[in-house]
C-alpha cells in the first residue's frame, strides 16, 4: 500500500483531529523496536516502565499516548508526544539501568512516521528480550502478566540491539515472528551472537586500556621556546 506523503502545509496540530476519520490506512499494526525498564524492587518486578518518562505500561491494556497540549491529539506532527519505536534497534537510546529490556512493540491508531521510526497513539508490547541479569522467575511472571513471550538473551539487551542492527535479516525475522519461531532463532543464533558480543567487549576493553597512553600523548605540549 502506498501512503500519501505528509503535506508540510497540512501540519497544523488541529488537523490531527481529523486523522482517524474514515477507513484506516493499514489493517495491521506497525511492528518496531523499543526498550522498557523492568522494575527492580520486589513489588515492581513484573512492571514494564517507559525508561525516559518513567510511566508504567499497563498489562493487558493498550498504552495510550497523552499530551499536555490542548491543540492536538497525540501524536502531533510538530510535537514530541506519542509512543516511540525505532525501525533499527541499533538507534535505540539506552539508560544506565541493567534492568532495561529490548522488545518489539505493536503500534496502531494515529501514527507519525519519521526517517528512523514512529510515534503512535496506541501501543502494546509484542515480545520481550531480557538479558542474563533478569532471572527466569521474573521472565515467567512478566510473560504471564502482560500475556506476551519473554525470551532470554545471553547477550545484554543493549548489545543484542547492536548485533541485530548489523544483522538485519535475523532482526526482521524477530520483528515479525512470534512464539516457537523466535525461540528457535534465538537458540540457533545465540552462540554466534554471544561470541561476537564477547569479541566486541574485548575490543572495547582493549581500547580503554590504550586510552591513557593516547590521552598522555595528546596532552603533551611542546615546550615554549
Amino acid at each position: 500500500m502506498t501512503l500519501p506523503p505528509l503535506d508540510p502545509a497540512d501540519r497544523d496540530g488541529a488537523e490531527d483531529l481529523l486523522a482517524l476519520e474514515g477507513a484506516p490506512d493499514l489493517p495491521e499494526p506497525v511492528l518496531a523496536w523499543r526498550t522498557w525498564r523492568v522494575g527492580r524492587r520486589a513489588q515492581r518486578r513484573t512492571e514494564l516502565i517507559a525508561p525516559l518518562a518513567g510511566v508504567l505500561w499497563p498489562p493487558r491494556q493498550p498504552m495510550v499516548a497523552t499530551c499536555a497540549s490542548p491543540n492536538h491529539v497525540p501524536p502531533g506532527d510538530r510535537c514530541r508526544c506519542g509512543l516511540y519505536a525505532a525501525a533499527d534497534p541499533g538507534t535505540l537510546d539506552w539508560g544506565p539501568s541493567d534492568h532495561e529490556v529490548l522488545g518489539v512493540v505493536a503500534l496502531w491508531g494515529r501514527i507519525v512516521e519519521g526517517a528512523r521510526g514512529w510515534r503512535a497513539s496506541h501501543a502494546y508490547p509484542r515480545l520481550l528480550l531480557t538479558g542474563p541479569g533478569i532471572a527466569g522467575e521474573q521472565r515467567a511472571a512478566l510473560a504471564r502478566r502482560y500475556g506476551v513471550p519473554v525470551h532470554r538473551s545471553e547477550v545484554p539487551p543493549k548489545g543484542l540491539a547492536l548485533l541485530l542492527s548489523d544483522d538485519p535479516v535475523h532482526a526482521e525475522v524477530l520483528r515479525r515472528s512470534a512464539g516457537a519461531e523466535v525461540e528457535a532463532l534465538l537458540a540457533a543464533q545465540m552462540p554466534d551472537w554471544t561470541r561476537r558480543w564477547e569479541a566486541r567487549a574485548a575490543r572495547a576493553a582493549s581500547d580503554v586500556a590504550r586510552r591513557p597512553v593516547l590521552a598522555g600523548f595528546w596532552g603533551w605540549r611542546r615546550p615554549a621556546r
Binding site: P4, D25, L26, R45, P62, E113, Q138, R152, G179
Partner: protein, 53 residues
C-alpha cells in the same frame, strides 16, 4: 529517542487486537519452565511478591 524528520502520517487499525485478552495465556518458551542455572534464584520472599503481582 529521535525518529528523525517526519515523513508521513497515517492510521492503523488492526483487525485483531494486539492486546492479549485477560484469560489468554502466552505459550511460554521452554527455557521459562526450567530452573535458570546462570542467574541466581530470587529469595523466597521476592518470588512470593512476583507471584502476587
Amino acid at each position: 529517542m529521535d525518529i528523525g524528520p517526519v515523513r508521513r502520517r497515517f492510521t492503523a487499525e488492526p483487525i485483531s487486537s494486539p492486546v492479549p485478552a485477560a484469560q489468554e495465556r502466552v505459550p511460554e518458551p521452554p527455557a521459562l519452565e526450567q530452573p535458570d542455572e546462570r542467574t541466581p534464584a530470587l529469595p523466597t520472599h521476592e518470588i512470593d511478591a512476583v507471584a502476587r503481582a
